[in-house]
């Protein structure tokens, strides 16, 4: 059993990234009824911007600060600056590209936002080039510990803890705050909410920005563990939709459970049956759809 511990942690880390990506997509769809394929590009963009900022900060002030102070600088970059910057980019795109798509049928939204993801991919390639970009400095600073005879890095565990805090906060947000309750109500029936005098457009924007910031944070937390290359958005968009389909549209609980399921299936799958590691997510999706076509928590909104 002890041998399975690293795989268990790998699964949870994988699930964290998928949760941050899938939740944003899910709440945006649940509330705005907007199917945004380009959402995964915010994850890739978050990762690229993080890499540039971390490398820039390391070059500019790397020698002048101690390890602890530098780590704090990295955390500010990853948790504040990157989600902030990407939210602004996302907001700009919402105002110009996405807003006109809101009234359209799902298929048109899918087609248009697929075009957007391709353009975003090419823009990222234009800016950062086709070569892999890495910045493992934050992860290296944390180091690792001995787990069943091998080193295991602290970073994935740190990312899992951060994601758990975010998930709890989101749950609190939807259950306890006014904005959260309005959001839920809008997901049920937007017209009723709007006649009460609430500015639903402003709620839209706030929830959309939260979704984009979560995806960017997903990219920022994922980055120190891997390299960023072109095509990352396209790879993650499939997983984001798997979260949506398995968990159920617009369900926070569904996003958590689906992320965990996919994370576990992928990590244990590539450990035990690596030949099936690509197919395994689709098999899971097919199984869920056969049993419950609306997804595991599809009938519960956010």
């Amino acid at each position: 059993m002890a041998q399975q511990l690293p795989i268990l942690l790998n699964s949870l880390f994988r699930a964290s990234t998928l949760f941050l990506l899938g939740t944003g997509l899910s709440i945006i769809y649940g509330m705005l009824n907007f199917m945004n394929l380009a959402h995964a590009a915010f994850l890739a963009l978050g990762a690229y911007v993080s890499a540039s900022l971390i490398q820039g900060a390391s070059n500019a002030i790397g020698g002048t600060l101690g390890t602890a102070a530098m780590f704090v600088v990295f955390l500010v970059i990853l948790f504040v600056i990157v989600p902030g910057v990407i939210s602004v980019v996302g907001l700009g795109m919402e105002q110009t590209i996405f807003k006109p798509l809101y009234g359209l049928e799902d298929d048109y939204q899918l087609l248009a936002t697929f075009g957007v993801i391709l353009m975003m991919e090419d823009s990222m390639k234009f800016i950062w080039g086709g070569l892999p970009v890495t910045s493992s400095a934050p992860s290296n600073m944390l180091g690792g510990f001995n787990l069943v005879g091998n080193t295991y890095p602290y970073w994935p565990i740190f990312a899992v803890v951060v994601t758990m805090v975010i998930a709890t906060t989101l749950y609190y947000f939807f259950e306890e705050t006014r904005l959260g309750k309005i959001t839920l109500a809008m997901a049920e029936d937007e017209e009723v909410v709007s006649v009460t005098g609430i500015d639903t457009r402003s709620v839209h924007i706030k929830v959309y920005v939260i979704g984009v910031a979560l995806a960017a944070l997903g990219g920022a937390l994922y980055l120190p563990n891997a390299s960023i290359t072109t095509g990352l958005s396209l790879e993650f968009v499939i997983l984001a939709f798997a979260v949506l389909v398995i968990g159920g549209l617009g369900s926070l609980k569904g996003a958590i459970v689906a992320s965990l399921l996919i994370g576990f299936m992928q990590s244990f799958g590539s450990y035990y049956v690596p030949q099936l590691s690509l197919a395994i997510v689709f098999l899971l999706m097919a199984a869920v759809m056969l049993i419950k076509p609306t997804g595991l928590f599809g009938d519960i909104k956010a």
């Binding site: 041998q3 690293p6 795989i7 790998n10 880390f13 994988r14 390639k125 086709g130 070569l131 892999p132 890495t134 493992s136 992860s139 690792g144 005879g149 091998n150 080193t151 295991y152 890095p153 970073w155 994935p156 563990n225 891997a226 390299s227 960023i228 290359t229 072109t230 095509g231 990352l232 790879e235 992928q266 990590s267 244990f268 799958g269 590539s270 450990y271 690596p274 030949q275 590691s277 690509l278």
Partner: protein, 414 residues
């Protein structure tokens, strides 16, 4: 034989047009195909840069035989139907020579079409041994000017057999497509045939591309091999290395990356000291490789033109393909006195040998496949540039099949 010189040599570039016959006045039309987008752009971009630079250099010296300019067009290999593109280039656009292909699948699909259309074609990078072992067993118009995967995989097996006697357990990590499977298969067969006293404890094939290697690394940590053979490249290699570093895989396991030196340039901070790297043939810009003026000139010219070093083997493969072609034309002309038609060019390519920045390259008589030495070294992080130390060369006869045998037949009968 007057003027029968190697066009790659410093003193004869573009010269030696003393064969006497008429040289076509219109420019030579050359198409160069490689991935300039997508994951394989790590090889394709420097490859195309090198090709462009070499064509400009040849033209500045007057062109082929000092008289015929080359008109080169670049084509991105990252298209949905490469055979269709190739057919168009060969039939409608009438290129004199088509040089290209990084992907094994693309080279395997195109080579039979090249033969069908009698279109002179040079495969400049693709490693698969199936190219001439099974896809085109009796080639006429298709040549390959770079080392095949046999060089890397058999080279790694020989390195293990000859130089690493303490290794008892071996594992593999390769991408789950033709190139990765081909490399592992050759490596495993070579070890068996050599009778190397090691046990293969695991062979993992990972999706391509793949960003999460954590469970693969956990599985390797569980079996704890002494040695890992891997043909991973590009972002996959960077991801694998980053995540393996974090998980202590290399603490007591020595990995051998057969085509990975390009990460010295792409992700230098992720490369630890003391891992074994091969540059997919003997192509590397620094360290003990700087043995001849061609090497120095190539690196310096590339650096001064692009502000970057030709780290990826693609750049070196472009050099060999383009000068190999020019040399074969000049050689035919200088010997016969006639500018070669396609058939005369084929005869000139068969059995050709010439100096390159990476040593002497040759296509043995009876083969259409260039042979190169295998070259390995330990990653060295002590200098300004990441380099290779304690380098090992393995003679080309030791890592390439003789002309009358397929790679598999040769390996099974060491």
């Amino acid at each position: 034989m007057a003027g029968c010189s190697n066009p790659a040599s410093d003193d004869s570039l573009g010269g030696g047009s003393d064969g006497g016959g008429e040289i076509p006045s219109e420019p030579l039309r050359m198409a160069c195909i490689g991935f300039t987008s997508g994951p394989a752009a790590v090889f394709g971009t420097p490859m195309m840069q090198a090709a462009r630079m070499i064509v400009d250099q040849i033209n500045e010296n007057g062109g082929i035989l000092g008289e015929r300019n080359i008109e080169m067009d670049e084509v991105d290999e990252n298209v949905s139907d490469v055979v269709q593109v190739y057919r168009r280039l060969a039939t409608q656009e009438d290129y004199d020579i088509i040089i290209g292909f990084i992907s094994s699948a693309n080279a395997l699909s195109v080579a039979p079409v090249a033969e069908e259309l009698s279109q002179p074609t040079i495969i400049w990078d693709t490693g698969t041994t199936e190219l001439f072992d099974s896809a085109v067993t009796d080639p006429k118009y298709t040549f390959r000017t770079s080392a095949s995967s046999s060089t890397d995989a058999v080279g790694a097996a020989r390195l293990l057999d000859n130089a690493l006697p303490d290794v008892q357990t071996v594992a593999g990590v390769n991408q789950d497509y033709a190139y990765g499977r081909n490399n592992w298969n050759l490596f495993e067969r070579a070890l068996q045939s050599l009778g190397t006293d090691v046990e293969i404890v695991d062979s993992r094939f990972t999706p391509f591309p793949n960003e999460d290697f954590s469970s693969t690394i956990s599985a390797l940590n569980d079996v704890n091999p002494d040695f890992i053979f891997s043909s991973l490249w590009g972002g996959d290699l960077v991801n694998f290395m980053t995540q393996a570093n974090d998980r202590g895989l290399f603490d007591d396991t020595l990995p051998c990356f057969s085509g990975g030196t390009h990460v010295f340039h792409d992700a230098p901070n992720e490369v630890p000291d003391g891992l074994i790297f091969g540059p997919r043939g003997p192509h590397f810009p620094y360290g003990t490789m700087e043995w001849n003026s061609l090497h120095q000139n190539f690196v310096q010219n590339f650096e001064s033109r692009y502000g970057d070093t030709p780290y990826a083997h693609g750049a070196w493969h472009a050099w060999t393909a383009l000068y190999g072609y020019v040399y074969s034309v000049e050689r035919a002309y200088n010997i016969s006195g006639e500018y070669p038609d396609d058939d005369a060019w084929v005869k000139s390519m068969e059995g050709i040998g010439f100096d390159t920045p990476s040593g002497f390259a040759n296509i043995p008589k009876g083969s259409h496949n260039a042979v190169e030495s295998a070259f390995w070294g330990y990653s060295d992080t002590s200098g300004e540039n990441l380099s290779l130390r304690d380098t090992v060369w393995i003679a080309k006869e030791e890592v390439n099949p003789p002309v009358n045998l397929t790679t598999g037949e040769w390996i099974d009968n060491f």
